[in-house]
Structure formats: structure tokens, C-alpha cells
Amino acid sequence: MSTGGIVAEGLTRSYGDLLAADNVSLSVQPGEVVGLLGPNGAGKTTTLRMLATLLTPSAGRATVAGYDIAAAPLEVRRRLGYLTGDTGLYNRLNAREILRFFGRLHGWGPRRIEERTEVVVDLLGITDFAQRRTERLSTGQRQRISIARAVFVEPPVLILDEPTSGLDILAARDILEFFRLVADAGTAVLISTHIMAEVELICDRAAIIHRGTVRCSGTLDELRALGGDASLSAGFFRLLGEEDRGSAKGPPH
């Protein structure tokens, strides 16, 4: 068993008769970015929520940063940065206050919080608006603060659920490149998306999930080879089957 990163074995979650995630197994090593690729409703969010200890699995097990998600959820959360595309921010607090709040919830002292705040604020380019209440900021600025919050306590594992949704193409690229850098520094990053270009930009490996089950996983080259024409999109469509193309909202980019 790995002591770092993410290891999931047979994670299953049902809502009544519906199997939202069915026997999902995947792993993310420290320093690696793994993409969870699938159309809307494929089970990506359910899988990530289970790994983030927000949902209890109906079956299966997983470890995050070496801790079992069911047996030691608090230890998992201590070592996890979790971010979604629609993450809300406290509207009437500013970036520094939000970072301070989460730093304190992690048991950090004031000095350590102040030092880390300066680093993160600088790293994500939010210095100019770090003193303004988040309700007065643009979507892109708010998302930068959310990212700052997720990476603030230097978690060894990052789980990102469609982190670029609602962002323009430039802002999205900046953010993805940032996560690549974070991974290169040794963090295990699991990112869910339905956008091929994002996977190609930052992922080392990817798992294609559809109707709750992982259809295949491997390096990007292995996935490209599935389609036979060296394109991820071709591999994706071939795997999902022609009949499912309509259910995948919007063609993968």
C-alpha cells in the first residue's frame, strides 16, 4: 500500500437504484497529475467526493495520503486540498481573511499563517485584490482565491473537480499550469474534467469514466492509441461508443 497520493480500490456509491460510481479503482502517485475524464453525469464528482470524505462509499476502500478515507477522515482532510469549479467564497471576507480562517482550522499559528499567506498571495498573483471583499471580485479573481485556499496548507494531495469551469481560456490555462507546477513539487493531483485539451495540457495519466465505471486508464499515449489516430478525442469516443456521443454534453475539445 502506498503511503502517499491516492489509492482507490473498488469504490462504489449508489443512490437508491442508481449506481453513481461502480467499482472505481485508480491511483495517483506524488508528483503526478491524473485526469478523471468523462461526460457530465459519468460519476466523476461522486468519486471525488468519496475521496474527499464528503460522501461515504457504499463499497470499496481508498487511502488518501496514506490514510483510509472511512477510518480516518479527519487525517485525510488534514492532508487534502479540495476544489470545485463552483466553490463558493465567503463574500464579506477578503482573501487574506479567508486564508487565515482555513489556516487556523488546520491548527496553524499566526506567524506561520502570515508567512504562508504572503507566499500564496504572491504565487497566485492576488496581491492587488487580496484586501478586497470577494463579493466585489470577478469570477477569475475569485477562483484564484479558491485555489490559494486549496493549496494554502501545502497539502500532499489535491483533488480538483472541474476547477476551470466558468473561466475564460487564458485564465483556465494559467490555473492548469499552476497545478502542473504544484505537482512537479511533489503533490499528487487528481483532476476531473470533460475537456480533452486540459488533460493533454497537464496530465501524466488519465482514467476514462462513463456511467459510473472506469472504462480504461493509462498514459495519454496509451489512450490516444485506443482511437487509432493518435488523438485523445478519438480514443474517448471509441471507448464510450457512438451511441453515447449524444449524451456527452458538448464535444470534448
Binding site: Y15, A52, L54, T56, L74, Y82, T84, G88, N91, R92
Partner: protein, 683 residues
Amino acid sequence: MSFQGLRLASIIWRKELVETLRDRKTIVMMVVLPLLLYPLIFLGLGQATAMQANALRTTDILVGATRAVPVALREVIDARKYTRLVVVDDAASLRAGVRDGSLRAGVVGAVDTPAEVLDAGGSLELRVVFDGGSDLSRQADQRLRASIKTFADELLDARLQRMGRPPAYVKPVEVKSDNVAPPERRGGYFLGQILPMLISILMIGATFYPAIDLTAGEKERGTLQTLLTAPITPLVIVGGKYLAVVTLALITGLMNLVSMAFVGLALPLPDELANEVSLSFGADVFFLVLLALVMLGMMFGAVMMAIAVTAKSFKEAQNYLTPLYLVCIFPLLISSLPGVQLTEVSATLPIVNLALAIKSLLVDGAASPLLSVVFISTACWIALALALAARVFKNEAVLLGDAGISALFARRGGRFATRPPVPTIGEMVVLMGVTLLAMFYGTLLLQGAPLLAIIHTTQWGFILLPALLLVWALKLDFRQTFKLRRPPWWAVLAAVLAGSGSWVAAQLIVQLLFDADVLPVPNPAMEEFSRQLGELAADPDTAVMLFLGVAVAPAICEEALFRGLAQGALRRRVSARSAIVIQAALFGVYHLNVYQALPAFAVGLLMGWLAERSGSLLPGVILHALHNGLALATQFYVFGPDEGLTSAEAFPIGLALLMGPVSAMVLLSMKGKPSSDSDSVGS
């Protein structure tokens, strides 16, 4: 909660306070409004009222009098300030004048020669005509009555003088009051009547907005999910948020109190009241009142949060809490009724106990021995409400999905359950509401109808029919919802044994409650109901229908609703024990009668247990029919309507009969698990 937990909760508390206090709306609601509102309402309105009253007093008013009104009286009226009198020919013209407003009011005399009647020592009939829909006319009416009184008093004095009698001659007895209550106690009584109600309403209002904003509001804004991935437990989150809600409520309460106190100081009491009433208290009373107020805020905060947290959005939370607001005000209304005092029982009732404690502290100026009971029981209620809120916070379906308010009763870590073919808790709660409304308004509509018709319509039409319609409309399974299956033999035996003696136990409970002065003496309406039942029982033509209505119909209809539908719905989400207790409590409340509530609850427990163990409705039906039938038969055929079961003659029989329920319970506890095909989920 550990020290570390408290530290983390305090971090959340501080953050919530900062965020809430930065909201302009909150500041306006919490600080500006109370500081401005009371002076504006009390001083502004008070002055406006005084000015208006003065204006009315000094308005010139034209009044009329018929020629049959004594001249002396007319002179008295005309001599009054701001009042001018015109003489009118007859009563009809005077009435027409008052009606069209040309005259504000008038006096009509009944006889044409009033002076002769008065000189002869007779009594004169006068009629004041006025328009009750006009302020000016009411003012004119007052002035005329005052003038008539002056005239009559002078007349009486003159008569007494002629007779050589002193004024005391017509006042053989004069009553004066001697109030032994010191001014502090009178002031306390005055405050005790209004303060608990007023402060409570303010406190509920003060917890309303923060309780929603910090729970459902946070869910709506998408920040709750982030908080849940922080390394803290749900209890810490609930604790921190709860502290913030209570703090905000107390700030609001304090602001309101300060504002009211200033207004109270600025508004001089009327002289006659100022001399008699003092609003000063000892430091101990002041401290205890303050403590009770803080606990009131904590109580409301806990209840509001437990409910608000189940909502998905701000709007949904408002929909849940608005009725709760009204529900909370109801016990306050009860506690403000004259004569309602702190007793061993009322000291344990949530909200009521604190309101009564404040009332008793203010009136007596000292702590009641029951105060500790009040504070301890309130602490228990608060803990219960908080435990519920924390439980909801552990429920992922509520936090991420849409489980709604039924999550309050859900199993720990509740899942998105598959739908079995029986109603949900939410559907059951709606049905109960509809049934209650149907019973209440239906009974009003049926007023005046024969008693037998009312009894049967209530059972079949208001209790059973809505339940059947619900199951039919939702296309659910009738057999499973109403537990329509063959019971095991031992369950039937237990039902017969229990039914043969449960009515004795029920009557004993009522008798004990009477003896302990917990229950009030039956009112005339109840005695009339009992008398009518007796008449129906005595007549062989109606006796059969009476037994069908009182024993058989409830056995079928109430069992179907409570032990069938309600208990089944509850069993989808809660343990067998909780389901039995909740349905029995509902069964007790549904009797809408203080005399029947507790016995019904007790028998409801037994019937619920029977249904749970046997998986069938039939044993409960048998028990219920025997219980009601035997109680009725004993009341009207064995002892007669006026005798109870306390006589020495009845005691040994009652004791023997009580063995029935006892042996039934032994039998039930010996029989293992309920049947495997029970409709319970996860049992």
C-alpha cells in the same frame, strides 16, 4: 467537545460574527432598527395619540336634544366647553341629523312633561343617540353622558336635601381597596405580564435571520462543502455556528431591551401608576432574569438551527421557520395567560418554563425553588436540539443532496434510500396535517348534527379516507402500508389479554392525574358529551351504532392511520423504538383532549409494539376495539355514568384485569424479532 474542539468552534464563531456583522442589512436589523424603531413607535405614536385625543376634546361639536329633555339638562349641556346644543322637534329628526352628521349626537326624552315627572320624585328615561362609527360622535356621546350625570347628581342632592337625608343615605356601603402588594411587586406583576412575551418574540426574530444565513444560506452560496473538507468534525461546525447565532440573537435582544428601557424612562408613567408601581429589582433577580433571557436565546437558536440546516436554500429555510415562529409563540401565549404558573410539570416544558420563570422572578422578586428545574430541563432541550442539528450535519444527503426536513429523523449518515411502497415521513406529516384540519373544520361544519353521525364521519371520513386517498394517489402498496397480513397466534392472544385490561390502566392514569391536580375539572361541554353518550347507550336502537362508532370504527380507522401508515413511514428512517414512541405521541395529540392524551399515548405505545412485533395491523385492531368497547360498557352498564373505578368494590376486579396487559407485555417480550417481511428498512 474537547478543548481543541472548543478552540476550533471559537474560530468558526469569530468568522461567522465578522462576516455577519459586515452585512449592512444585519446591522440595520440588529442595531439601527431597534434603536430607532421604539422611540419612533412609542414616543411618536404616543404623542400623536395624545395630540389626537386633545384635538378631539377641543373640537366644537353640535349636539341635539328633543323638547322632551328637561330645560335644566339642556342648559348643563350647552354650558359645556366646545359643545353647542340645538333643540330638535322630535326623535326622528334628531336621529336623521345624527345619521347624516349634521348633529354629532343627541338626547331624546321619553315623556313630554319631564319636569312634572321629576318634581313628583319619578325617574326620567333618556336615550343618547350617537353614531358608533364616528370618533366625533363617540366624543359627543361621552360629553352628553357626563352632562347627564352632572344633572342627575344635582337632582339627587336636591331630593336628599328636601328629605333631610345625608348623601350617604343612597350609598349604604362604600368599598375601598387595600392592595398589600408593595410597589415592587406591582411593578413586577406589570412587567411579568408583558416582558417574557415581548422579549421572546424579539429573541425568536433575532435568531431567525442568522440561523438561516449560517446554515441554508451557506449551502446556497456553496461554501459549506469547502468547510466540510476542513479537518473538523460536524459537531465543531454546528457548535461554532450555534454560538454565533446565539451571540447575534443576544446582541439583538440587548439592543431591543436597551432601546425599550430608554423609551420607558423617557415616557413618564401616569401619576396614579407612578406612585403605586416601582420597577426596581434586586441584583440577584436581575441576574437570574438575564440568565433566563440568555437561555431563551440559546433555546430559540438551537431550535431554529436544527430546522434551518435541513433546508437547501435561504427561501426554503424561511418556509420552514415561519411556521416554527408561530409554533414557538403558542407556548408563550399559554404562559402569559392569567393563573398559569410555574409548577413541577410546566417547569420542564420548553420555552413555557423560561417565560414562566421570568414572570415568577419579576412578580415574586425572588428565585422559585423550581428555577433549577427550569434551567436544567432547558439545558436538556437545548442539548437535544443541538444534537439534532449536529446529526443533520453528519447527513451527507442533506449537505450535498436534497433530503429535506425529514433528515431530522433520519438514521445516522442517512443515505439516499430506495423507495419502498409505503409513504415517506414527509408524506405522513402532510397527511397528519390534513387529517387534523379535516377533523377540526369538519367537526365545526357538523355542529348540530346527531352525535352518532359526527362520530362515524370523523372516523371513516376524516381519519381513514385521507389515508386511503394518499396511498391510492401515490400508487403505494395498500397491504404493506396498512400491514394487512395474517398475524401470528401469540399476537392475537396478546391483543386480547391487553385489551381486556388496558382500559383499566387508562382510567387509572386519568384518575391519578385528577388526584394530582394536573388535569382540570371537566367542563360543561364534556359533561354534556358524556350525557349524550349515556343516552345513546341506554337506547337499544342506538346502542349498536354507538359501539360501532366508539369501539369498532376507531379500532379500524385509527389503527390504519397510526400503527399502519404513520408507524410504517417512520420505520423507513428511524429505529423501531423511536417509531413506536413518535406514532404514540401523535396518537395522543390527535385526541385533542387533555383527558385522553396521556392514556392514548400509553395504549398507543402498546399497540405500536404489537404492530412492530407481529407485522400485522389486526392485533392492534382487536386491542383497540376491546379497549374502547370495554371502557364504554363499563362506564354506562356496570357502574353508571357517574361512578369511577376508585370504589373498593371495583378495585380487586381492576387489579385482576390489569394482569391482562402485563401478561401481554411479557408475551410480546418473549417473542423474538418481528416477521422478516416487515416493511421496515434496515431493521
